[in-house]
Every structure is written in structure tokens, then in C-alpha cells.
């Protein structure tokens, strides 16, 4: 097949030989008479070229000039200098300083409470006393009632539970006054648990009763309340019970109460806004120490009697 194709291609190139040639006489006669003007064919393309130049060159040049002018106009419009307008700038510096309240500065306590994370209350322990105390507690003033104190002392394995009412009535007034001075009324309406003195009682261990009493006395002096009487009671009674109460009151019974107190602080932080939180904490600490003194006094009275 390739030989055939090659043969075919060769034959196709020789295909012109199969056609006749023109008559030589007529051909020569025609070629002799044919006007072979050498100049005309050369001039025609030049004329056509010149015509092309005019036909295409002039519009192209005009368009180029127009586009250039348009570009210059656009450039001028965009780069024209606008006179600068002076703008007065005023710098206002606001320095915000937060000054804490005087009561906070004065009574800023040391963190005497236990770490909430350490004392996690056991829900199965069955110590529902704090909740019950919360309910029975007056919400406005945070004073310790007669019903609460015996309830607290029942949990304590001390032997002076029968002589409680006299000591309670005496220290209760002082505690009431102290608590009323420190705790703002609005806040006490919000949270009942913030005024439960019996809850905060276990914050101070019994072994440190004297130190707590001194602190209580100092706090009361700064607040200029009736806590001065508490101070005197506390200093005297705390020294007396220092040896007895530490032995008689086991620390294990107060552990759940500690946890209750810690829980209360935690919840108060959660529910209250920040400005109230710090003040509230201070008042709580003051109240706690006062009530602790009350208990100590109660115990001392019962022991002495």
C-alpha cells in the first residue's frame, strides 16, 4: 500500500503531463502583444499603500490624540491639588481613677475564711442546718435570734447549753448593732444568706478565739458601734475558755459549718455585682467575728455558771 501511495504521489506530480499544451503560435502571438508595463504594477501597490495610509492612518492618529487628551484630562482631575483646610484637633484625656470607699479601706480584712475549694460540702452529709437557719433568719438586719443560737449550740458538744439565753441576749445586741452598721440595707434585702451569723461562725476556729476576739474588738472600734462591749466581753471570756473550749469542742463538728460559710461567700460573689461584693465581704467578716465572740461568750458563761 505504501508503494502504491508513493507511486500515486509521483503520478500526481506528473499529472500535468497528461494535459495538452497550448498552441505555440497563438501563445507566442499573445505574449508578444501582451503589454508588459513594468512601471504600472510597481506603482499600483504604492498608490494603494498611500491610500491605505490615508484611510487608516488619519483615523488612528485622531483616535490616539483624543485618547491622549482624555487621559491627560482625567489625570488632571484626579491629581488637582485641593487647598488644605485646617482642622482643629482636640485631644481629650480621660483619667479614670477609682477611689475605694472609706469603710472598705478601713475594714479591709485579711482573708480569714477557708479556701472554698478545700472545703467542698458533702451533699450526703445530712447537715441541712445552714439552710434551715437561712430561712428562719431575718433578712433585713441580720441579727441573731433566740431560736438560732440554741440550734447552733445543740450541734456543739459543750456542756453549757442550758445557760445560753442570758449570754445570748447580751451579745446579741452588740452583734445586731455591728451588723446593722456595716451591712447596707439594699444588699441585705437581696441575699438572705449574707446575714446568717451562725453560718459564719465556724470560720474562726475555736483555738483562735482570742485572736478573733481582738480582731472583733478592733473592727468594732473603727466602726464606732456598740461592739466595744463585745470587745471587753470577748477579751475576758476568750482567755478563760482558751484552754477549755479547745479541748471540749472538737474541730470535726465545725468542718461542715466552715464549708457552709465558704459556700455562702461563693454564692454571694456570684449573685452580687462587683461594687457590692467587696463591701459585703467586709461586712460579712465583721459579722462573723462578732458572732464568734458571742458564741465564745455564751460558752464561757455557761462554763462559769
Amino acid at each position: 500500500m505504501s508503494k502504491q501511495s508513493r507511486n500515486m504521489d509521483d503520478l500526481l506530480q506528473e499529472l500535468g503531463k497528461t494535459f495538452p499544451t497550448p498552441d505555440p503560435k497563438r501563445e507566442q502571438e499573445f505574449l508578444d502583444n501582451y503589454p508588459l508595463n513594468e512601471e504600472t504594477p510597481r506603482l499600483v501597490p504604492m498608490q494603494q499603500a498611500g491610500r491605505r495610509r490615508l484611510v487608516y492612518g488619519l483615523p488612528a492618529a485622531a483616535m490616539a490624540i483624543l485618547m491622549l487628551a482624555g487621559g491627560i484630562g482625567v489625570w488632571r482631575s484626579t491629581h488637582s491639588r485641593i487647598p488644605a483646610v485646617p482642622v482643629e484637633t482636640t485631644t481629650v484625656t480621660v483619667i479614670e481613677t477609682t477611689v475605694p470607699a472609706e469603710s472598705v479601706l478601713k475594714t479591709e480584712p485579711e482573708p480569714s475564711y477557708a479556701d472554698p475549694t478545700e472545703a467542698v460540702p458533702d451533699p450526703t452529709a445530712g447537715t441541712d442546718a445552714p439552710e434551715a437557719e437561712h430561712r428562719t433568719e431575718p433578712a433585713t438586719t441580720g441579727t441573731t435570734t433566740m431560736q438560732q443560737i440554741p440550734a447552733r449550740t445543740e450541734t456543739m458538744p459543750t456542756n453549757g447549753a442550758e445557760t445560753l439565753p442570758e449570754a445570748v441576749t447580751e451579745t446579741q445586741d452588740a452583734a445586731t448593732r455591728t451588723t446593722t452598721n456595716t451591712i447596707p440595707p439594699d444588699h441585705t434585702k437581696k441575699d438572705d444568706t449574707a446575714q446568717s451569723p451562725t453560718e459564719r461562725e465556724p470560720v474562726v476556729p475555736v483555738e483562735n478565739t482570742e485572736t478573733t476576739a481582738v480582731q472583733t474588738a478592733e473592727t468594732a472600734a473603727t466602726e464606732k458601734t456598740a461592739a466595744s462591749t463585745v470587745h471587753t466581753h470577748a477579751t475576758t471570756t476568750a482567755a478563760q475558755i482558751q484552754t477549755t473550749a479547745a479541748d471540749e469542742v472538737p474541730s470535726q463538728t465545725r468542718v461542715p459549718e466552715l464549708t457552709t460559710d465558704a459556700t455562702w461567700i461563693w454564692t454571694s460573689t456570684t449573685y452580687d455585682p462587683w461594687p457590692w461584693e467587696f463591701t459585703e465581704y467586709t461586712s460579712i467578716e465583721t459579722t462573723t467575728t462578732t458572732i464568734t465572740t458571742e458564741e465564745t461568750e455564751e460558752t464561757t458563761d455557761s462554763l462559769s455558771s
Partner: protein, 154 residues
């Protein structure tokens, strides 16, 4: 265009016209008429497409001459004496195959291999694209090869 180019072009145009008209006298008349018309239009000269213009003019003249051709003369002119060459049987066979092709296909093969025009020039004369003309010429050549193989085997 000098005399040598003019003479070569004259011969090729004559062969083309003869392939279309199958008559020497009419083919020569058509060729001379083609040159005269070419001279009447100076815009055709010097444009680099003189050959294309000449073939286009010759084609139109051949079509006109073929329409005016008497039917009784057709049978006589089909027999071409120049194609009868016993020394080259393959050439005679190929010519017979070419004559058996339709008029439009024969014209393309003549323009391509007798007149020696390029496919682009043939496409410009015929008014079709180069791609279409190339495919068309290849298809015609394939058909000729197939017929040539059959005739050669016989």
C-alpha cells in the same frame, strides 16, 4: 511579472481551462480573455495575489463557456489525445481516474497538482476556508488512491 512568468502562467491557465472545457480552442480563448480582464483591472496588479485573481477570472469564464457549450460537442471532446500515452500506463490510469471524478473534485485536483497552487490559494479561489479545503482534497485523494488500487490490482 516578466515574460517567463507570464508564459508559465499562460500554460497552467490553459491546462486548467482545458480540464474544465475539454476543448483546446475554447481553453485558449478563455486564457487570453482572462489576461485581458486582468489588465482591465489595475487594482489586481502588484497586490501579490495576481495568480489568484487570474485563476478566479479563468474559472468564471470557464463556467460561462461551459454553459454556452453545445451538448453535441461534449462526446467528442471527452476523448483527449494527449492522455493516451501507452508508454505510461499508470499515468493514463490516473488520468482516467481523474476524469471519472465529479467536476468540482476534478477542478481541485487540477488546481493542486497541475497548476501547482497551494491549498490556501485554492481555498481563496473557491471561497472556502483552508481547513475545509485541505480536508476536501485529502478526501478526494483517498478516493483516488482506493480506485487506483482497485484498477491496478485488476
Amino acid at each position: 511579472m516578466d515574460k517567463t512568468e507570464l508564459k508559465s502562467l499562460y500554460e497552467k491557465l490553459f491546462q486548467y481551462c482545458y480540464s474544465r472545457l475539454s476543448d483546446r480552442d475554447r481553453a485558449e480563448d478563455a486564457v487570453q480573455e482572462t489576461f485581458l480582464r486582468f489588465l482591465e483591472h489595475p487594482e489586481y496588479q502588484g497586490s501579490g495575489k495576481e495568480q489568484q485573481y487570474l485563476y478566479t477570472i479563468a474559472r468564471n469564464l470557464c463556467i460561462d463557456a461551459y454553459r454556452r457549450r453545445p451538448h453535441e460537442e461534449l462526446a467528442e471532446d471527452v476523448i483527449d489525445e494527449s492522455a493516451q500515452d501507452p508508454s505510461h500506463p499508470d499515468r493514463m490510469l490516473l488520468r482516467a481516474i481523474l476524469d471519472s471524478l465529479p467536476e468540482d473534485e476534478r477542478e481541485l485536483i487540477v488546481l493542486r497538482y497541475v497548476s501547482g497552487l497551494s491549498v490556501r490559494e485554492i481555498a481563496a479561489i473557491s471561497g472556502v476556508s483552508w481547513f475545509a479545503m485541505n480536508r476536501r482534497i485529502r478526501r478526494i485523494l483517498g478516493k483516488m488512491r482506493e480506485q487506483f488500487g482497485k484498477e491496478e490490482s485488476v
